[in-house]
């Protein structure tokens, strides 16, 4: 019967269309979860969260209180001597820390899941002069992850003069990304 044949063809097409639409929807959903690769995130002043105050021990054993940085822009870098992208971004951070020192920008490393011995061996070999706190137990990371999404190392966070998170770089920091971010923060305050 002609009508029945046509009906079968149309029905198969309908089922195929449903399958295709579902597959497409799922593909779009899957892709939607990815971040656009802008390199960094900048928060306008109204959307900034304040970093909880903490005290931690530096790699050389002196206590560092985060509140003592109030009034300065702080670049907080989460790193580890075992982390390859952290090692490769370190010279860039070192250069920027020297450049911005005179402009009231401090750098502070948070050495995650590491031993002070390993970390100091690295900072010595790269020539990093800014301090790092030991965070082998992830407590500083936990403090920061309440106000900014840290999904691993390296992550570089810029804290403004009032102690609020002004922006962050996920993954290895490039000179241009951090330079732009620091420029934005310096302009807004």
């Amino acid at each position: 019967m002609f009508k029945a044949k046509r009906r079968t063809v149309v029905s198969v097409a309908a089922v195929a269309a449903v399958l295709l639409a579902a597959a497409l929807a799922v593909t779009l959903l899957t892709q939607g979860s990815g971040k656009a690769d802008a390199g960094y995130v900048f928060y306008p002043e109204s959307q900034r969260h304040i970093v909880p105050d903490f005290t931690a021990t530096s790699l050389t054993g002196t206590p560092i209180n985060f509140a003592s940085y109030r009034g300065k822009v702080v670049v907080v870098n989460f790193w580890g001597s075992w982390c390859d992208p952290c090692r490769s971004e370190a010279p860039t951070l070192s250069v920027l820390s020297e450049q911005y020192r005179s402009r009231g920008v401090s750098f502070l490393g948070v050495d995650v899941s590491d031993t002070p011995v390993n970390a100091l061996a690295f900072t010595r070999s790269v020539g990093i002069t800014y301090p790092s706190v030991n965070d082998s137990g992830y407590s500083v990371t936990q403090d920061f992850s309440q106000v900014v999404p840290i999904s691993g190392t390296p992550t570089t966070i810029v804290v403004d003069r009032t102690g609020h998170v002004a922006g962050y770089i996920y993954g290895g920091a490039t000179y241009s990304a951090l330079n732009t971010l620091l420029g934005d923060v310096a302009v807004t305050r």
Binding site: D84, N118, G137, S145, S151
Partner: protein, 552 residues
């Protein structure tokens, strides 16, 4: 799914009394509707049919086969790279089809979603129909009750209306649902129906099934799984930075994790020392302390296999253990460049012979090592004979040069890239705890200062687990109810006869699989006769004959 409806048979002359139990509405006729409205409806009916659900279930099973045959990106990315290297022609095509990440592939999700839609589309209309049928009153009493599978009659001294009232009282007392004649009906009858619990059971089963589906979906969207390797003396917070592997559900973000803190104070394992099971593990204890939330006081817990820690409905399981030898590496200038407990991975869980690497990039030194908890030398080779740390030793192969760790490309912490390095003479070198290997050529030294143990933890949060269990139990209860309870109808009609009346009783049961309705009917009929009073016992009681079983 159970099929709750018997196929509709053409009732042979009988009225609505024998319509299938629980069906009073007629199915809408879809064949004659306009083509534009018909196709989507037809496609929907096909999708929600049992056959399609089974085909999709089969496809789901078939689709997961490559997931277990081929290496998967999510679980073993290194193996995927190796597959690409060994099958350069085939691998890109497999990759295009998503076969290296089957469970995240769009086609796999399409099957899953269609199956879900199919099941929901199948269950929801059934649920609505069942809910309707559970509320339906019994049908009108048929004219000739003697034609029903079970029937009886007796004479009563009461007038027809009083006789039917008496019967209704008896049936009502037995918790039958009753229906009496409408205003325009001049005959005397009562219809009674019992066993609605069957429909309730069916309803419960279908609703619970929906609940299971929703629970699984909720678990998949809001749950997560993570792994963490933790060395004795170390602590971590449950955040994405601290976790080694993190597999979140689609709607989970890092800030959704319960922020507990956990410290591994010590780990102990005991092994059978004699007999056939020598070397087999006997007990594992991971002594931990944890704080359920930030600033909360720490509590101790003895974490064991199959004895997980539950924090804030997040479960922490002990899934593995191993040894972490402690090394101290000094560079050529005598500065300590590396000092830490280095987790080694068991290559043989029977003897706990473990492999690992020591990377001291800032001393330009790297070591590939084997740790044995109870080591003996067999023909110049170090072997472990027992999993407990009775005579620990390490054997190290040293390399000097650039470890390639500053290129920015992430390496595995368990692998040493020796391409830019040269092997140090004197390798392999055996070290016992406390011993130091002074490397030739003044390159520095490595000391094996002791060992610690580590545990691997699985951290899971599945908000759908408990609801799924509850719904599963409810589904079982519903299924049992629908199997064990049967729906049955009793009809009573009275006609005037002299000063009294003749009362006929008819009975109908559905799926009398477990039997017993015959007896129930007989005793009920007798009771009605007594209740109808003064007429004496049943004068005529017929056994079920070869009459039509319509609706039964």
């Amino acid at each position: 799914m159970t099929d709750v409806h018997t196929p509709r048979e053409s009732a042979s002359g009988e009225t609505e009394a024998t319509r299938p139990f629980g069906e009073n509405e007629t199915e809408p006729d879809v064949s004659g509707s306009g083509a534009t409205a018909g196709w989507p409806r037809w496609a929907w009916r096909q999708l929600t049919s049992m056959r399609t659900a089974l085909v999709l279930l089969f496809l789901l099973a078939l689709g997961s086969v490559p997931g277990s045959v081929l290496p998967q990106q999510g679980s073993d990315p290194v193996a995927v790279q190796q597959y690409f290297a060994s099958h350069p022609g085939l691998a890109p095509w497999l990759n295009r089809l998503g076969l290296f990440n089957v469970f995240a592939a769009p086609w796999f999700a399409a099957i899953y979603l269609l199956l879900f839609t199919s099941l929901v589309g199948c269950v929801v209309p059934r649920t609505l129909r069942l809910a309707g049928s559970a509320r339906t009153p019994p049908p009108r009493a048929p004219r000739n009750l003697l034609r029903l599978p079970h029937s009886a009659s007796y004479a009563s001294a009461l007038a027809p209306s009083a006789a039917v009232d008496a019967a209704a009282a008896v049936l009502g007392g037995q918790r039958f649902r009753l229906r009496r004649p409408g205003a325009g009906d001049a005959t005397f009858w009562v219809s009674a129906e019992k066993g609605y619990l069957r429909e309730v059971g069916n309803l419960l089963f279908h609703l619970a099934l929906l609940g299971v589906l929703v629970s699984i979906a909720v678990g998949g969207l809001f749950g997560y799984k993570a792994d963490k390797l933790l060395v004795e003396g170390q602590q971590f917070y449950n955040n994405t930075t601290a976790l080694d592997e993190f597999h979140p559900g689609r709607l989970v973000s890092g800030s959704d994790l319960a922020p507990f803190r956990l410290t591994l104070n010590s780990f102990s394992a005991s092994y059978f020392t004699t007999g056939e099971s020598r070397g087999q593990p006997e007990t594992f204890h991971a002594y931990v302390t944890y704080s359920p939330s930030l600033g909360a006081p720490a509590r101790p817990y003895d974490l064991q296999v199959n004895h997980p820690l539950s924090v804030d409905s997040t479960k922490v399981y002990l899934i593995g253990h191993g040894y972490a030898p402690v090394f101290k590496v000094t560079n050529a200038r005598g500065q300590v460049s590396y000092q830490q407990a280095t987790p080694f991975i068991p290559a043989n869980t029977g003897t706990m012979t473990s492999d690992g690497v020591v990377k001291a990039p800032d001393a330009s030194l790297g070591f590939i090592g084997v740790f044995v908890p109870t080591g003996i030398m067999v023909g110049g080779t170090l072997e472990s004979v027992f999993p407990a740390p009775d005579a620990p030793a390490v054997s190290l192969v040293g390399y000097s040069g650039n470890l390639g760790m500053n290129s920015g490309v992430p390496q595995s912490v368990f692998q040493l890239d020796t391409t830019g390095m040269t092997k140090i003479s004197g390798s392999p070198h055996l070290l016992l705890p406390g011993q130091t290997w002074k490397l030739p050529g003044g390159r520095g030294s490595i000391a094996f200062t002791g060992y610690k143990q580590w545990v691997s933890l699985a951290i899971t949060y599945d908000p759908g687990q408990v609801p799924a269990l509850i719904c599963g139990i409810l589904a079982l209860v519903g299924l049992l109810l629908s199997f064990l309870v049967r729906r049955r109808r009793i009809f009573v009609r009275a006609v005037p006869s002299g000063t009294g009346s003749v009362v006929t009783v008819g009975g109908l049961a559905r799926t009398d699989a477990s039997g017993g309705f015959e007896d129930e009917f007989a005793s009920l009929a007798a009771e009605l006769a007594v209740g109808g009073a003064a007429g004496g016992p049943a004068s005529d009681s017929r056994e079920p004959s070869n009459q039509s079983e319509t609706g039964a």
